[in-house]
């Protein structure tokens, strides 16, 4: 048979997903995070158990509605975080997940992004439940283009959906199409996100 567009690791996690929350199981989680929505085609839920003394994630369960890369991303993430320091887990990036999977096709990177978001939501929930609200890092969106009301989050989304140049970013977001003052900022942020998600170094 010819190759899939996915790596063998993706295929393995897709076909044999680890740590799926089963309906019969009574998993007493310390934190729960749910992101995405069914309308957009993917939704993930991550449950974690935390050793409060050692600050490590001891166990993890998940459920995902989505395509093969979404399912494989959550599965591999659930393996990665077991035994991981909670602060370290908080800063896992989509690129870390993709790397563990041996890469994802470029147009599928956005499917894996939800994984680390769900994990952060679960950790935030743990912080909230355990009275450590000060540790929650609010990720506020910042408006870059005042005219068209485009935020840095939207730039990141556009990058993950395939925008590689300023022109493509403008096509997707209409950023800088009125007064054009934000072009410098927008180009710099675009570069940052390209580096964050797609650079191989």
């Amino acid at each position: 048979m010819n190759d899939w567009i996915y790596t063998d690791i993706v295929k393995d996690h897709f076909m044999h997903p680890r740590n799926v929350l089963s309906d019969e199981e009574d998993f007493q989680e310390d934190g729960r995070g749910m992101v995405g929505n069914v309308k957009c085609g993917d939704q993930m839920m991550i449950l974690i158990k935390v050793d409060a003394q050692k600050h490590i994630i001891t166990d993890c369960r998940w459920k995902t509605y989505g395509c093969a890369s979404a399912i494989a991303s959550t599965s591999v993430l659930s393996e990665m975080v077991k035994g991981m320091d909670i602060e370290q887990a908080y800063h896992l990036s989509p690129k870390d997940v993709a790397k563990e999977l041996g890469s994802l096709p470029e147009h599928k990177i956005h499917c894996s992004v939800l994984g680390d978001k769900a994990l952060r939501a679960a950790i935030d929930d743990y912080y909230d439940r355990s009275g450590q609200k000060d540790k929650i890092q609010r990720d506020e969106a910042r408006i870059i283009c005042q005219c068209m009301n485009v935020t840095d989050h939207e730039i990141e989304e556009a990058v993950l959906e395939g925008a590689r140049s300023y022109y493509e970013l403008q096509e997707k977001t209409k950023i800088g199409t009125v007064c054009g003052q934000c072009e410098g900022d927008a180009r710099r942020i675009l570069e940052e996100f390209l580096k964050k998600h797609f650079s191989t170094s």
Partner: protein, 402 residues
Amino acid sequence: MKKQKMKRVYFDHNATTPLHPEVKATIEKALDVFGNPSSFHSFGREARAQIETARELVASFIGAGTDEIFFVGSGSEANNTVLSVLPCNKANCVCQMKTARKVVTTKIEHPCILESAKCMTRKGSEVLFLDVDQYGKVSFDQLKDVLAKDDVGLVSVMMANNEIGTIQDIKLLARLAHEHGALFHTDAVQAVGKIPVDVNKLGVDFLTISAHKIYGPKGVGALYVRRSVPFCPLIVGGHQERGRRAGTENTLGIIGFGKAVQMRKVEWEAEEKRLLDLKHALKDRLSRDIPDIRFNGHPTNCLPGTLNVSFLGVEGESILLYLDMEGIAVSTGSACASGSLDPSHVLLATGVGAEQAHGSIRISLGRENTLEEVEYAAGKIKEVIEKLRGMSTAYKKQRSPA
């Protein structure tokens, strides 16, 4: 490493079909026919004769004259050609179209029509996309309104939809268009060879056919253009196909196309009944075994072998890939499989929600499929849906069966 040969089931005939054995044999026999059909010498005449035989077969299959059929590179090319006729408004052009008039098509056309239509709007034409109802049927009243109100030059409506199989009443739509002085085109790529298609009974001006959907080779199609209807070629620069499509003919493709049509003539009627039975068997099994499913498309006015079904709480690409691992080939209207972020424009046009569109698969049966394959696939689909629902955030089991 030795690999056990996996059972493979092909349920994706609306995407493409394998060559009919007779077509394969005909092409093999024709491999040495290399002359340029435009050449006057014996080599050329040999190729020309075979092309004209194929033209007769294709023309007679849809009730057309041989001078009304010309061969093109694909169904997409035929559709692009038709839509390019209208915005051509050069004053002295041979096609004699007066001006860029309005074009009307539908929201559920194949992308080659939708994209061409959008391209026309950039060239200054006005295009209207008709709505469809929940089964994918074009809105008659809406067409009537726009024809009465606007100066419509061309109406293009596909005969049978590739994703949901819904069949339009082309005869009525064409008559309506003609009553208001508009030309009528139908993309019949999915219809020809599966349901009756006769250009005179339908009363259409243009009709598109593709060879590879009916067990012929890829890279060849035909466009029917009614005599006396204004026409302008898309590809110019040669006198081939009586000046209607420049470029040396795809001789082997056309020969195979002719044979494919000939075989359809023999086989299609018996096959229509057989495929309908298989589809009903599949539909019944799925409805019986799997809760929370929805069938998309028209319950009766539908291509015999096409079944589009949505499984709530699961995403189509996952279903497709799990089935692929079992050797079963289907396709999906989910966004993720297409590389875009939007699910099927056809399903959305019928008004189903995004979730139902994301969770849809299209099963399209063909001449080699058997009841045994249908039963095997139905069993595997059940397993796959249960597994995916088990790991989905979007599915809650109602009650486990007793």
